[in-house]
C-alpha cells in the first residue's frame, strides 16, 4: 500500500514537472536573446548570400530589438526565432528552386 502511494506521488510529480516544462513559463534573459539574435542574423545572411532573403525578416528583427530594449526578452527571443526560421526556409527555397524553369 505504501509502495503504491509512493508510486502515485512519483507519477504525479513527474506529470506536474512535465506540465510545467510544457507551459513555456521560462522567462528569457538578455543572454537568451543575444544567442537567438546571432542565430537569426546568421540564418538571414545565408539566405541573402543565396539571393533569397525574404522581405520581412529584417523588420521582424527590428521588432525583436524593440522588445529587447523594452526588457521583454521572451517576446524578443520569440521574434528572433521567427526571423531565423524565415532565413532557414528562404535558404531551403533557394535550394529547391535552383533548377527552376517553365512548368509544362
Amino acid at each position: 500500500m505504501h509502495h503504491a502511494t509512493t508510486l502515485t506521488a512519483a507519477i504525479l510529480a513527474g506529470l506536474l514537472a512535465a506540465s510545467c516544462a510544457g507551459n513555456s513559463t521560462h522567462v528569457a534573459t538578455q543572454s537568451d536573446y543575444n544567442k537567438a539574435l546571432a542565430d537569426a542574423k546568421a540564418a538571414i545572411l545565408e539566405a541573402r548570400k543565396a539571393h533569397y532573403e525574404w522581405r520581412d525578416s529584417g523588420k521582424i528583427l527590428k521588432q525583436a530589438d524593440k522588445a529587447a530594449k523594452a526588457g521583454d526578452f521572451t517576446k524578443a527571443v520569440k521574434l528572433a526565432n521567427k526571423a531565423m526560421r524565415q532565413g532557414q526556409i528562404a535558404l531551403a527555397q533557394s535550394e529547391h528552386e535552383k533548377n527552376a524553369g517553365p512548368r509544362m
Partner: protein, 285 residues
C-alpha cells in the same frame, strides 16, 4: 558490349541535366511565344505589347480612353528637355546617344563584351552623366524615368532587337535572368512566371494578370498607383521599379534597381519580347 552500354548509359545520365539546363535563347523565345499564342489563340501576336489590355476587354476600353490624353505626355516632354539641356561641360545626352532621335530603346539591354556585363538604358543614361561630370540619377523614378520615356517614345514602331551574345559570360547573365523569372521566391513562394506565364488573364485579388510576352515593350510606364502615392502626381517608373514592386508583393526582399540580378532579369525578359513593336511609354493601373 554490356560494359560499353553501361558506360554509355551512365554518360547519358550525366549529360542529361546539362543538356536540359543549358540555355538556348532562340529556342526559349520560340517556346515562350508559342505558350502565349496557344493560351490566347484569339489575340494577334502584335497585340501582346498592350499587356493586360490585350487580354481583358473591359480594361482595354478604359485604357483606350486614357490614351486619348495620355498622362505620360508631360513626362515625355520633360525627358526631351532634359535630353537636350547641356551638361556643365556643354555637351548633352546626344553625345552618348547620337541615334536617340531615330530610336534606340529596342536595342537595350545589351551585353557589353569588354565589361562582361549587361547594360540597360537607364544604366547607360547614368554612365553618360558620370562621363560628363554629372551626378547619377536615382534609378526608379523621376528624371531617369522621364529621359527613358522620351527615348522610348522616339523608339516607337521599332521592333525589339535584343541580342543575346553567345559568350559564356553573357549566357550566365541570361541564365540568371531566366532563373529569376521562373523560380519561386519570398514568403508567398511565387515566381514571376506563376503570375505572368502560367496565369495571365486570371484575377489575383481585384487585378487581372498581364502576360509577360510584350511586358517590356511599353516601359517605362505611368502607373495610376504610383501617381497617387507621389506628391507631384508623377506616376512614371522604370521597369526595374516594377520588378522591385513585384518581388516585394510576394514578400521577397527586392534587389536594388540596376543590381546584377535585375539587369539579368531584364536581359532575359526583354529578349522574350524580341520582334514585337516598341510602344513605350505606357499607361498602367
Amino acid at each position: 558490349m554490356k560494359k560499353i552500354a553501361v558506360i554509355a548509359s551512365a554518360f547519358c545520365m550525366l549529360l542529361t541535366p546539362l543538356v536540359s539546363s543549358a540555355a538556348n535563347p532562340a529556342q526559349d523565345l520560340k517556346d515562350f511565344r508559342k505558350h502565349y499564342t496557344e493560351m490566347f489563340p484569339e489575340i494577334p501576336l502584335h497585340d501582346f505589347v498592350n499587356g493586360v489590355y490585350s487580354v481583358d476587354k473591359d480594361s482595354r476600353e478604359q485604357w483606350e480612353a486614357f490614351e486619348e490624353f495620355p498622362p505620360y505626355e508631360t513626362y515625355v516632354e520633360k525627358g526631351e528637355e532634359l535630353f537636350n539641356k547641356p551638361f556643365k561641360n556643354g555637351k548633352t545626352y546626344a553625345s552618348c546617344f547620337p541615334k536617340a532621335e531615330q530610336g534606340i530603346k529596342q536595342n537595350y539591354p545589351y551585353f557589353d563584351k569588354n565589361r562582361g556585363e549587361v547594360v540597360t538604358l537607364e544604366l547607360a543614361i547614368n554612365e553618360c552623366r558620370e562621363a560628363n561630370g554629372e551626378k547619377p540619377l536615382k534609378y526608379k523614378k523621376g528624371a531617369i524615368a522621364h529621359l527613358s520615356a522620351y527615348i522610348a517614345y522616339k523608339s516607337r514602331g521599332k521592333k525589339g532587337n535584343v541580342k543575346i551574345d553567345s559568350s559564356p559570360e553573357s549566357m550566365q547573365w541570361y541564365a540568371r535572368g531566366k532563373k529569376h523569372f521562373y523560380a519561386k521566391r519570398g514568403q508567398l513562394n511565387m515566381s514571376c512566371a506563376d503570375c505572368h506565364y502560367h496565369n495571365p488573364g486570371k484575377k489575383i485579388r481585384a487585378d487581372i494578370l498581364s502576360p509577360a510576352l510584350g511586358h517590356t515593350s511599353h516601359f517605362p510606364v505611368f502607373r495610376n498607383k504610383w501617381s497617387q502615392s507621389s506628391k507631384s502626381g508623377d506616376g512614371m517608373g522604370t521597369l526595374q521599379r516594377r520588378y522591385g514592386g513585384c518581388n516585394s508583393q510576394v514578400r521577397a526582399k527586392p534587389f536594388k534597381a540596376q543590381s546584377k540580378e535585375y539587369r539579368a532579369l531584364e536581359y532575359f525578359h526583354t529578349y522574350m519580347s524580341n520582334g514585337l513593336t516598341m510602344n513605350g511609354p505606357g499607361i498602367r493601373k
